[in-house]
Symmetry: D2
Subunit: 373 residues, 4 copies
């Protein structure tokens, strides 16, 4: 495995498994003098923590984070931050449950590919590194990025836009902010949220799980972020979001709808506003043009697949015996992870935006010319 570091300038490296001792992230590139605390990071972690609602897995992880390196007297020192979360809810009974099915391919999970790639050495317990538990460290690192971005006037918010065909009404950034994380499905449109929750609980009762669509909006991003050609802002945000386990699609602005649009319908028309600055009449581009932020809100959506673990028997393969068999219904599971994924998606967007901000400032600052903004 070789993909456990993300970012070039604000650089997150992580390790840890579902049933290992602990999860750790090292954040390199964090500037000195940032006031941050375990509590600040904890607040973000609590937003993705399981076991807090009937929509989540009943696994009880406290996810208590501690910054064990890179700090002195409440401020970052410039040294890399080290963050650690100990796994606490890993009792023998759960380990045994996983051991009993360790040769079975759990459909929709990464077992098969891990078995193929790592052979009999693949971690068979609780999905190992492929478990959603690793996303703790994305959120922890995202919290550090959030703190820095806030000082730069950049806000990133996510919410569940759609779940099993039920869509939130069109929401502005203000709408989202006002009703942020207000219900267990993380949809600021309370009416739609109620329908979504009812639908998920219905599906839960069937022993099944539900997918959804999460939208993340970033406001206050200065025009100019993004490194063409290959590291366009949308390309690296897509990289980060698509690296979240359950994500199967990423789209910006008008997204897949552009496939049926004419140029005259798709182009965002600029105009000089009363403030003497350029604005756009529409935002089909999702705030990014030519791979560079244009000052409008960055709007990105991800498709979240339904939790693979279901409470229904499934056909599968026993890899040790190489024979077809049945995998019995599993009860400990998330009816949907869409709501919890919001915090993870926000985090990846934050980390990526900050990384780009640092890259841009890096070279831009050595050659001073008058920027027209």
């Amino acid at each position: 495995m070789l993909g456990n570091t993300f970012g070039r300038m604000f650089r997150v490296s992580a390790c840890g498994e579902s049933y290992g001792d602990a999860l750790v992230a090292i954040i390199d590139g964090c500037p000195a003098g940032l006031e941050i605390s375990d509590e600040y990071v904890q607040k973000e972690l609590d937003a993705r923590r399981p076991g807090t609602s009937p929509l989540d897995s009943p696994r009880k992880e406290t996810d208590q984070v501690h910054i064990f390196a890179g700090m002195r007297d409440g401020f970052t020192t410039g040294a890399p931050l080290g963050l650690i979360i100990y796994n606490v809810d890993r009792h023998d009974i759960h380990v045994k449950q996983y051991f009993d099915v360790k040769d079975m391919v759990r459909p929709g999970h990464a077992e098969y590919t891990y078995m193929i790639k790592y052979g009999k050495y693949a971690d068979w317990c609780g999905a190992g590194r492929a478990s959603g538990r690793e996303t703790c460290m994305r959120v922890a690192a995202g919290a550090v990025a959030k703190k820095i971005l806030e000082q730069q006037g950049i806000k990133v918010l996510g919410y569940v836009k759609e779940c099993m065909g039920i869509s939130a009404r069109k929401l502005t950034f203000e709408d989202i902010e006002k009703n942020y994380r207000a219900n267990m499905i993380n949809c600021p449109d309370d009416e739609a949220a109620k329908k979504m929750i009812d639908r998920v609980l219905e599906i839960k009762d069937e022993g099944d799980t539900a997918g959804g669509i999460v939208e993340v909006i970033a406001r206050g991003v200065p025009a100019g972020l993004g490194e063409p050609v290959f590291d366009k802002l949308n390309a690296t945000i897509a990289h980060g979001l698509m690296s979240i386990g359950a994500v199967k699609g990423v789209e910006f602005g008008a997204g897949f709808a552009v496939g049926s649009m004419k140029g005259s319908e798709c182009n965002d028309i600029p105009y000089v506003g009363d403030d003497g600055k350029v604005h756009f009449r529409t935002n089909r581009a999702g705030g990014i043009e030519g791979g560079i932020s244009n000052g409008e809100e960055i709007v990105v959506r991800v498709a979240v697949k339904p939790t693979a673990t279901i409470s229904i028997d499934q056909d599968t393969v026993n890899m040790a015996k190489m024979e077809n068999t049945k995998l019995e219904a599993i009860t400990r599971r998330d009816p949907t992870i869409t709501a919890r994924l919001v915090a993870v998606a926000e985090s990846m967007v934050r980390i990526t935006l900050l990384d780009h901000l640092m890259m841009w400032r890096g070279y831009d600052s050595v050659q001073t010319f008058e920027h027209p903004w």
Copy 2:
């Protein structure tokens, strides 16, 4: 700008603008002993070349590529490959046309963001580095990757799956291969292709342009490619595809449809086939599970926005005067770039697959254990 290198092991660096002297790519990490020629690379380039059909821009670029470094007697030497394409169709009349509108924001183009990021130094001619011309070098590098992948039994094919609401029928890999690049819209379903072409020409007559959706399928990819957590195979493929100028969305397998699916509908069920190997009854995962290829076909789709340049007057802003104005209709343009984008998308998938293959082989080969495949 800092994003002109792609890949960690098979590493492409590129430069060059729409109206500069030449485009160059340096390919590092190419093994020695590969038999390749200018002609082989040219064949792929011809598939994205403009001016060959009424759906394309009339710009006449021959796109003649020459491998000027890294070769001896028809074989690669292990030294980095250098590939060059000189721009030939850049006459004074065109330069003047661009000069005349150099302070105007062309809606849907990268002008505004480049002006903001690079100030008055941004290249005003033909979109500069933001022009689609840079994709030549993606295709050239993709051709080198193709040659290597072929020897590994990996085939990557793309086609236009949808255009302005008209969809190709469900196509197998064999269908696509049989009718590959057979018509000017690059849709192997001739019937749908005809409708698409008619629709695009209609839109062209309106002075407008058309979007579409391209699907790329990779067959023969061994199970095991992909580096969790952050560099999952889907994440890096998404990075590469989303870095193509006109792409606004990327999805794998069932894609955005997973948002309305239950777990029991979404999970791909494995079984032991007659060949004694594991297969899956469906491919909603698009060939990637847990960020690692599972041996099934990799299926990815990208949303391509309509060409921004249209033959209709548009409101816009003159950045020098900071006032609202009109941009006149432009005649030299692609009615749709969807068909030409196929070769570019295939190339990004090829480059990424090869990069992953090298990464995996790199560490896997230093620790030999019996792989179960």
Copy 3:
């Protein structure tokens, strides 16, 4: 700070300070199926541990390492390894000692540059991240690399070649191996070692400290490692070695002596040996030609400066008051770190060799031709 990751394929990221809670390393790119244990890593750590001889600092750190991630049942799983060492010897009395001189520049230390770079936020306790304690994690990661290299038949050994003008006699690899780590100065020539130790103890009594020269030899490195042009094997080894705090110079083979040599004196003459293979009559190149290993022993030396902390009063500056002042003699210190640095230098060579092996195998394996070896 942005330099806490080393390696491209075998990739070590680290964090932790002298007086922080713990030091952690994340090792990405470690193959699955490697049998390794805390004990194996501990053995290497014990070779750099302070407080074991009168030549070391009396600081009592047990340096107990634990691999907390990436393992299952004694084997690596392919997931990144996480290694942790808790700092234990950090009592209030020591913290207070550092607090009392926190505004003073300690000559020869990194305080001044850290104060300038990180301002008042720089960690003032025990040199923070600039302390030699971080080298624990180099050694821990080096132990993992050692285990893998051993299976490839590659052995890396270091020793103190020179100390305060006293040189070891010319030693073969066998000599070093036979008397490896046999005395407290880590010089396999017992006679020279005795003189070195006496000299260092003499200097210690003066309240002063001693420099030295460490040589590292790698045997069994296959010809072919190294990535020209910029990532030559010697260039990346030099990078790794020069990144060790006290190192002021790195040289390969004949090293600085080449400045007074003629070509006819410097060139290593090849010949076909009785085994039908190419050997060289001399090894002035230090086993690397054109940035690529040539199959001979890799021989590299580093110059280690005397410990900066001395038991003699020194003139210095109080940065808070910006005035000249005196820094009093400090008693807790290493009379020389040359002996302890051996393990660190070996580790950096091991990590770099393994990284190159993986890079080479990565691309070499996708294009099979008959290698002439």
Copy 4:
């Protein structure tokens, strides 16, 4: 080969061989608005150009550079710079000469290692990518870095400090600047230079070649550059310098002499100068402490081996026949490359300094605190 890119933020990728069509460098991360020209870059290239003195190879390369991408109207646009040099002096007679000895290992050259690594596909003509010709592109890229550094008040100068045992007297930065590039050996001490030249010409008459030592000094580097732990300023400068073909050693400040120094002799004592700033009474550290620049001059030396090509018969191996044989004297060669290497070493230092400046500015600028300088 996978090492043809250098730098993280100011990033140089290069390709091209001794007897290929051309050498190209792509420079990514160059800010927009930099005024630069072919002529400016050419001036630096002329300083390393062969055939200008009796100390050089008689190969007549004009080394005419052209910036073919990334420019508009004399200023950089922010797009990556593309620089090209066509090889002109590669006549059939020379190619034939190389062909005739293509199976012979030329002692001291990279042939053997390239043959082993790349097999029969290794470029046999004029050392291919391993030729010193690649250093053109280091110098071209270094010229761009020079232009940017100048605006930041940073000057980097190199000179030949020692040649065949003859040393220049102690020279200040002003001495070097005053007599910079004033003689054919690039030693600003004219008296020593004369002796060096006489000695090299004597050795040339013997058919032999001469080594030397080059020192590079950087003045005006602000305190604060360098990224601990692994990317210390000295570590990355050493990486860059050691990647130059003929370099066998790198040392900073007191360098290898520290091995015989006591702490009290080695520590640089700081004091508050009349300007109210901190200075150091000595510079044994070579301007870098803890991997970070301290504001003093950065002083680094490299050991340059004598040219491997000599005009004396040498024993060697014919790899095709795998038998011992003789390599005849070769007349076309550099009596010493030490003088020409100065420009290359300066360039690597410049590129590295600029890269660090951009990295530092990148993260430092997102967290504003009052720096004490």
